[in-house]
């Protein structure tokens, strides 16, 4: 409702401005009518000053933004390669800000300084090979450095050596849920395909594969600090993207293929929570949530829970109506805690056995015979149809 009010006010404001210009136009009656809509010296002067004002606006808005929103940006990376990424990012930012300040400054300063009037004549300055060489070569050199640094970092991040000691984990995406599969003691993931999805085997793991026997399926991701985690990603339906903002890691999950990304976590969840910037951020968020809670309670709703930080895995590729709520909690444990957590988990093979056992007593023997009878009926029906078809062809 308030926004509707805002809109109405804006429309009225627009009308008022229009009326003002109309009055202004009326005062111009009698002036030469033909070029009244072409900028006059007075217009040039006024607009020139506004140009200067706008330059000030851009600078002030930038500084205000950096002060006010600068700390919203992701802070300390929680992965080893994240330092490399952030370092390159900072170098690039310095470059961008320098160029931005200089070019916008020149653009609007020239606009202000060379605002026209009737007595002036512009300088005929059509080209200068020297100037053009300068602003072709300088960007080329700077970009060459950025490209080289970028490619060095990219190759470091994206390629995993075969003989590296890594923890293999499969990330499995589906509308609108993440699941993780651990490779178990052999550290080799069993084969899988969506065609094998059945009952509790929601990932379609091939249980006839010996490597699959010790695989563990979980819905909360735990990874050990200081060890390279090699994610293999699959999707069962549409494109998803596994995005770990705090680890500076992201990769699409594509149905029909396995994609990969690897990183080394450097802070456990507990350690990351204790970082000063995070303490401050969480306090700020809780302040906002408390204020919101008061509002909600006043409306008869329930209060929001206070927030504690957790690493998250988000979906970052549009995947359907509930795309906005596809997430998984990620916990970085110390290596000992990780081992302990993993050892408490049951393997998928055990889960399947347990599910089968749970099903049997509940449904009883009758249902089994029921299914057999059903299958028999179906087979019979198929045979009949085939027979009829063959007979038809034979008649022809």
């Amino acid at each position: 409702m308030t926004s509707l009010l805002v809109i109405i006010v804006l429309v009225l404001l627009a009308v008022a401005l229009w009326q003002l210009t109309k009055i202004f136009d009326l005062t111009q009656v009698g002036a030469s009518s033909d070029d009244s809509q072409v900028a006059s010296d007075n217009d040039n002067n006024v607009q020139g000053y506004i140009m200067f004002g706008f330059l000030a606006f851009i600078y002030i808005f930038t500084i205000y933004g950096l002060l006010k929103w600068g700390n919203l940006a992701l802070h300390t990376p929680a992965s080893e390669h994240g330092l490399l990424v952030d370092n390159l990012m900072n170098i690039t930012w310095v470059l961008i800000f320098t160029v931005q300040v200089i070019t916008q400054g020149l653009l609007y300063w020239f606009s202000f300084k060379y605002k026209g009037n009737k007595d002036k004549k512009a300088l005929f300055f059509a080209d200068s090979n020297k100037l053009e060489a300068i602003w072709s070569i300088i960007p080329s050199v700077v970009l060459a450095i950025l490209i080289l640094y970028g490619l060095y970092a990219w190759n470091n991040i994206m390629f995993v050596d075969k003989d590296e000691d890594v923890v293999e984990i499969e990330l499995y995406a589906q509308q609108f849920k993440w699941t993780a599969r651990y490779a178990g003691n052999d550290n080799v993931l069993g084969k899988a395909n969506v065609r094998l999805i059945e009952g509790v085997n929601t990932l379609g793991v091939d249980m006839s594969d010996p490597n699959a026997q010790d695989d563990i399926v979980v819905t909360e991701l735990h990874i050990p600090k200081g060890k390279k985690v090699h994610f293999k990603m699959r999707s069962q339906d549409v494109l998803h993207s596994a995005y770990f903002p705090h680890f500076r890691a992201q990769m699409n999950c594509v149905p029909g293929m396995v994609t990969e990304f690897a990183f080394v976590p450097t802070y456990t969840t507990a350690e990351y929570r204790e970082l000063p910037f995070m303490v401050e951020k969480v306090a700020n968020i809780n302040k906002l949530r408390a204020a919101k809670s008061v509002e909600l309670i006043a409306k008869g709703g329930t209060a929001l829970d206070p927030y504690t930080f957790d690493y998250l895995l988000l979906c970052n590729k549009i995947c359907g109506a509930s795309h906005y709520n596809m997430q998984m909690k990620v916990v970085v444990d110390s290596p000992e805690d990780y081992k302990k957590w993993l050892s408490e988990k049951t393997t998928l093979a055990q889960d399947i056995k347990a599910a089968a056992a749970a099903e049997k007593p509940a449904e009883g023997a009758a249902s089994t015979t029921d299914t057999t009878a059903k299958v028999k009926d179906t087979v019979k029906a198929v045979i009949d149809t085939v027979k009829a078809a063959v007979a038809k062809v034979a008649v022809k």
Partner: protein, 600 residues
């Protein structure tokens, strides 16, 4: 056949002759006159623009005040998609998708390129009309048809296409995955297929016209930069649009005939689908092979318009005319080999990512040349701040601001963490959305007298520009920060992530700026439509420009020039030439005896 022979055919009594032949239908509806077709493109583009921008305001409101009830949602979206005035999550995605589609294709491709290529190519090269007026007419009406089909898709039962404007399969292929991928997506694909046919006809026409119908003396190096950019844009369009058509056709096959070009190993809604062996990554390659050149199809014409307007209003030659041409050609060439930078994280081989990082960052060089040349054009000028000039300066400003963050996104390493976040939204809206829109506004303010024989009100123009300029930065500058905070795009609401709670205030600010900026476009609409009828009558050459379109009479006639087509004797940027007393020398003025050419 030369343009001159054409000229003799129609001669002096040309105007008279056509007065009798034109009925209302042939003059205003099925016109083959390029000036009328340009106006048809413009009006259609403006109407689509209103719809596209209005959609963005609706979903911006949802983002600022998530799941709050607004009467206007219920009025506009209906009970199904906004029960009790609360926007539903699937219509949110549909709005985002159709906003992108409309703005990129219908406003900034057809509305911008279609309008000004049609208007200016014949007028500025000295031709009576396009090479094929009939094909030109068909091109417009196919565009119109595709717009109608796209708008129809808004009213189908399950909602319009909602897989994002990039329509990546499998989401766009499977109605089980999202309701919009049913009839809505079918209509989207049909509309785009028609659109591509329209665009190809237009482009071929522009190319042929520029190559064959230039008047005597109009060598390629005497063409205004507008024509150069339209020409190059048309070439990129002809190269890349057919690839989108093939992608769309293969997608139609997958959707309707059970082929597996893009789909494989899918388990959805409790069953395994039969698709096997296809890859969504193939679709991404095909899509971006058009999709990336497309952003240059959008921005190059804007660059051409801005170059022309800046030079005229600075009363100075454009700085580095040849460098400008070379940079347009370089950008066009590079634009066709950088598409993979949209796919660094698509699962393609990381080595390919390295190659695309390299080619992508190279684009910064010709872009930097252009920006510096524009700035130098202002230096020691005699700047005339007509509204068109303001929008041109604004375009350079947003192009720089938006372009610089491209250095981050084009670098595969940095893209890892900002890919598909609001940082991307901020980047491309500034560098191609707002910049191209400013280019289009600049073009409209500058050539309105040519199109309608009347002037736009300059004071309304000033108000329009300054409010838009503040709001554009107000919307997209803070958006960089929420992107850097890791907020993914295309989220219906962020309330499920307490992590992002501290971004909510920024979202409210962005939406407020968007609503104000959107509301002030009404000032432009009022100015535009009232000036068509009540604007001050224009003089023949109101901006004291050198190019040929200002040598035609104010009242439109078929064939453009009543007499012979003017010949061209000089380049298009003889402003403040020291050999002359006046501060502009039109292209059709012969060189004085002994006058030497002062530019390279």
């Amino acid at each position: 056949m030369s343009a001159e022979a054409h000229g003799h055919d129609h001669g002096h009594d040309h105007e008279h002759e056509h007065h009798h032949k034109d009925t209302f239908i042939t003059k205003y509806i099925f016109s083959i006159d390029h000036k009328m077709i340009a106006k048809q493109y413009l009006i259609t583009g403006i109407i689509m623009g209103i719809i596209g921008i209005a959609m963005s305001l609706l979903f911006r409101m949802q983002l600022a005040w998530p799941e709050e009830s607004f009467k206007i949602f219920n009025v506009l979206l209906g009970d199904k998609f906004a029960p009790d005035g609360v926007m539903a999550n699937d219509i949110y995605l549909a709005l985002v998708t159709i906003h992108g589609t409309i703005m990129v294709f219908f406003v900034l491709t057809a509305g911008l390129s279609g309008t000004f290529s049609n208007l200016l190519i014949p007028l500025q090269i000295g031709a009576r009309d396009m090479a094929s007026g009939f094909m030109n007419m068909i091109s417009y009406w196919l565009f119109f048809l595709s717009a109608v089909v796209m708008l129809c898709s808004l009213f189908v039962e399950a909602g319009p296409a909602s897989a994002g404007w990039t329509i990546y399969p499998p989401l766009s292929a499977l109605p089980q995955a999202i309701p919009g991928s049913g009839t809505g997506m079918t209509l989207w694909l049909v509309s785009m297929a028609i659109f591509i046919a329209s665009s190809l006809m237009g482009s071929l026409n522009y190319i042929v016209t520029v190559i064959n119908l230039r008047t005597k003396g109009m060598s390629m190096t005497r063409l205004p930069l507008t024509i150069w950019t339209f020409f190059v844009t048309a070439i990129i369009g002809v190269i890349s649009f057919p690839v989108l058509l093939s992608a769309a056709l293969l997608l139609i096959f997958d959707r309707s005939f059970g082929t597996s070009f893009f789909l494989s190993d899918i388990y959805i809604a409790g069953e395994v689908l039969h698709y096997q062996g296809g890859s969504p990554v193939l679709f991404e390659h095909l899509f971006w092979f058009l999709g990336h050149p497309e952003v240059y199809i959008v921005i190059l014409p804007a660059m051409g318009l801005v170059s022309e307007i800046m030079s005229t209003n600075s009363r100075k030659p454009i700085f580095g005319y040849r460098a400008m041409i070379m940079s347009v050609l370089a950008i066009a060439f590079l634009s066709t080999i950088v598409w993979g930078h949209h796919m660094f994280l698509s699962g393609m081989n990381p080595f390919l990512g390295s190659v695309f990082t390299f080619t992508t960052l190279l684009i910064a060089i010709p872009s930097a040349v252009k920006a510096f040349n524009w700035i130098t054009t202002l230096w020691k000028g005699n700047l005339q701040f007509n509204p068109a000039m303001l929008f041109s300066i604004g375009m350079v400003s947003t192009f720089i601001t938006g372009g610089l963050t491209g250095i981050i996104l084009g670098d595969s390493t940095l893209d890892i963490n900002v890919h598909d976040t609001y940082f991307v939204i901020a980047h491309f809206h500034l560098v191609m959305g707002i910049s191209a829109l400013y280019g289009m506004f600049a073009g409209i303010y500058h050539w309105f007298p040519k199109m309608y024989g009347r002037m736009l009100n300059k004071n309304l123009g000033y108000i329009h520009f300054w409010v838009t300029a503040v709001c554009a930065y107000g919307v997209f500058f803070p958006m960089h920060f929420i992107g850097l905070a890791g907020l993914p795009r295309r989220y219906y609401t962020n309330t499920n992530f307490p992590l992002f709670d501290d971004l909510q205030n920024v979202n409210v600010l962005i939406t407020t700026f968007a609503l104000v900026g959107g509301a002030f476009q009404l000032v432009f609409l009022y100015n535009f439509f009232s000036s068509i009828f009540y604007g001050k009558k224009a003089v023949q050459n109101p901006w004291k420009s050198t190019t040929l379109e200002w040598t035609t009479p104010v009242e439109h006639i078929h064939g453009n020039w009543p007499g012979e087509i003017p010949h061209v004797y000089r380049w298009p940027y003889d402003y403040s030439n020291p050999n002359h007393d006046v501060d502009f020398v039109p292209q059709n003025v012969p060189m004085k005896e002994g006058e030497e050419v002062l530019h390279h």
